[in-house]
Amino acid sequence: MNESVTADMSTGANTAKTEQTPTRKRSKKDLLIDILLCAGMILPLLFAIVLKVLNRPAADGIEITGAMIYLTVNLPLQPLYITEAQVNSWAVMATIFFLCLFLTRNLKVRGTGKRQIVAETVVKSCDKLVRENMGDRFASFAPFVAAIMALSALSSLSSLIGLYPPTSDINIVAGWAILVFILITRAKMQGGVLNYLKGFTQPVPFLTPFNILSEFATPISMTFRHFGNILSGVVISTLLASALQWLSGLVLGWIPVFGSVPWLQIGLPAIFSIYFDVLSGVLQAFIFAMLTMMYVCTGFSEEDYNARMAKRAARRAAKAAKAQEK
């Protein structure tokens, strides 16, 4: 094992030495692609900001409103609304996509750059988190958990650049929670569909309706937890901003030209947004991912898994024995 690793490393060193000239030649093209990827990261967010500015109704004062509706598609049953929250979440998705492409360019075994180290740290820490909390048999869940954590955190953080945070719209978070609910149900059904249905009558058959209710309470509580936390931050920071506007009008309003600018609004809301936007958003992303892992992991317990594997192994062994007898 060790020998192969050292051999790999030595060949890597050799190839790195021989490849030095072509990399220098390619550097211009590399730089161009890097710039394009960076533009891909920034442009969707800029596009969202421009769309918001263009569609914003001309009203003075600060108001607490829901997401603006950009587009209405008329469908037979119900019109489909494309809202600000959806557009912003698509922008965040595009940003994450280009960020991943940017970080994983030119991966090397030896002579790694800064970008690769960042990418490796992220992947490794996420893999470790999933393995610690869910066990090795759920290791394939790491990409999903990382994706939902990145999407949630960046969606909440997008309020820092003045966008309407998608996570403060219940529809977006409910979509994620329904996805997680499907995954939980799938994990529970891995022990057999009949076993899953039997689980509803588990302590006493009399409790079946309550068990079904608590099954649906999981996605609802996950939705409300995430949405409520972010929304409360948005409401409080909006109230604070309007209060500061009123206060600066009261204190500095008597000065002719100088007083028409709400000076107290500069900087002060940022101090509060450290908690409400940065800390709360990142913490809620972490908690959403943690709860996803816990629910999925407890849906299909280790004993069930081992029992199922043992049963399968026994069946296989019996089949093999039969075949040998023949």
Binding site: I64, S221, F224, R225, F227, G228, N229, L231, S232, V235, L283, Q284, F286, I287, M290, L291, M294
Partner: protein, 93 residues
């Protein structure tokens, strides 16, 4: 009619305020959880990481009732007045 609308609006605001009394429960619960976590960290400083992450998840679960109250209060302030006043105007003409 005006008096009826005023009563509805006032009751919505009062209801939102009363709903937020539910904030007491999660506050006590989370404070207790954090206190116990601090005790655990003081006894075993090496287990700080796992205790902290478990505490955050526990706090998030304990927070649920408070968040329900917040959602109901927000509904009462931003959604309910329009709905109720609309219903009253349709009923009373």
């Amino acid at each position: 009619m005006e008096i009826a609308i005023a009563i509805v609006l006032g009751c919505c605001a009062l209801g939102a305020g009363i709903a937020m009394i539910a904030g007491i429960g999660p506050a006590i619960g989370e404070g207790y959880a954090v206190g116990q976590a601090l005790t655990a960290i003081a006894r075993q400083p090496e287990s700080k990481g796992s205790v902290t992450s478990t505490m955050f998840v526990g706090c998030a679960v304990a927070e649920t009732t408070g968040i329900y109250a917040l959602v109901i209060a927000i509904l009462l302030i931003f959604v309910a007045p329009n709905t109720f006043v609309g219903i009253m105007q349709r009923a009373l003409g």
